[in-house]
């Protein structure tokens, strides 16, 4: 995570968490590289969450392309006590993912509402160009997925 990324995503994420009262928030690239986080207590949790979220998004996006011609948008899963909201947003020509974990103190409506506000704040924040490593990784991931789904 570069200093520019930290500045570009940390403050919007903090505002998002404050406004929505979600328990945990995570911003990452589709490759799984973390950009900002709030509420995770251990670094291992962040890494696990990033890997899982990246995989879930890749699967859902590919499924969307097969079924609907384009990647699906936000995804919501409700559990007994907690819910997760996973949403992609375009940022400087790349896709960035936001994961929010919340309970009864918030709601899907509130989270969806402030996700749009988060996207606006991220778009307004200054940042440096991304490094070359992540797009390569992403291209490779997309290629492998295409092979997996028999499209390569």
């Amino acid at each position: 995570m570069t200093e520019h990324d930290a500045n570009a995503f940390a403050e919007p994420l903090l505002a998002f968490v404050r406004d929505t009262r979600v328990q945990m928030g995570l911003v990452l690239e589709t490759s799984g590289r973390v950009l900002a986080q709030h509420g995770f207590t251990r670094s291992l949790d962040v890494m696990s969450a990033c890997a899982l979220v990246s995989a879930i998004h890749a699967s859902a996006a590919e499924l969307g392309r097969h079924l609907d011609g384009e990647a699906f948008g936000p995804l919501h899963h409700a559990g007994k006590d907690r819910q997760v909201f996973l949403a992609p947003l375009r940022c400087d020509g790349r896709t960035v993912l936001l994961l929010a974990v919340f309970d009864g103190a918030s709601s899907l409506g509130i989270v969806r509402l402030f996700w749009q506000e988060f996207a606006r704040r991220v778009a307004d924040a200054p940042r440096a160009p991304t490094s070359g490593a992540a797009p390569d990784f992403e291209r490779e991931l997309q290629h492998n997925l295409a092979v997996l789904f028999g499209r390569a």
Binding site: G104, S106, S107, L108, G109, I110, R112, L113
Partner: protein
């Protein structure tokens, strides 16, 4: 959306001073049906009104007053009304001079017809 819900929201929207009327669930804060004037953010209205209802319910339950059935929020330039039964809420956004009594009756009727 059921025919009853459409009719009920239509009746509420026709009351003078009403800018928006919608039905939403408290658990997810999403609007299921709505009638609103241009410029009213229905998604935001549903999300915030249901969040307010949830807090009011928690406060009333903690005070031992039982379930919250109706709440009205007066502001300098408008009023927010929320009537609830179970997980379903009816939300109305009105001007300060809107007829509160009529709105309340119509909101209760809207909820009653959905049972």
């Amino acid at each position: 959306m059921t025919t009853h819900a459409k009719t009920a929201l239509g009746e509420l929207a026709r009351v003078r001073g009403v800018r928006a009327a919608l039905m939403a669930s408290e658990s997810d804060g999403l609007a299921a049906a709505s009638v609103a004037a241009v410029g009213v953010a229905e998604d935001a209205l549903a999300a915030f009104a249901m969040a307010l209802l949830r807090r009011a319910r928690m406060a009333n339950a903690a005070a031992g007053y039982g379930d919250t059935q109706f709440l009205a929020l007066d502001a300098s330039r408008g009023r927010l009304y929320v009537a609830a039964r179970g997980d379903l809420g009816v939300v109305v956004l009105g001007e300060p001079d809107a007829n509160t009594g009529l709105i309340r009756v119509l909101m209760q009727r809207a909820l009653g017809g959905l049972e």
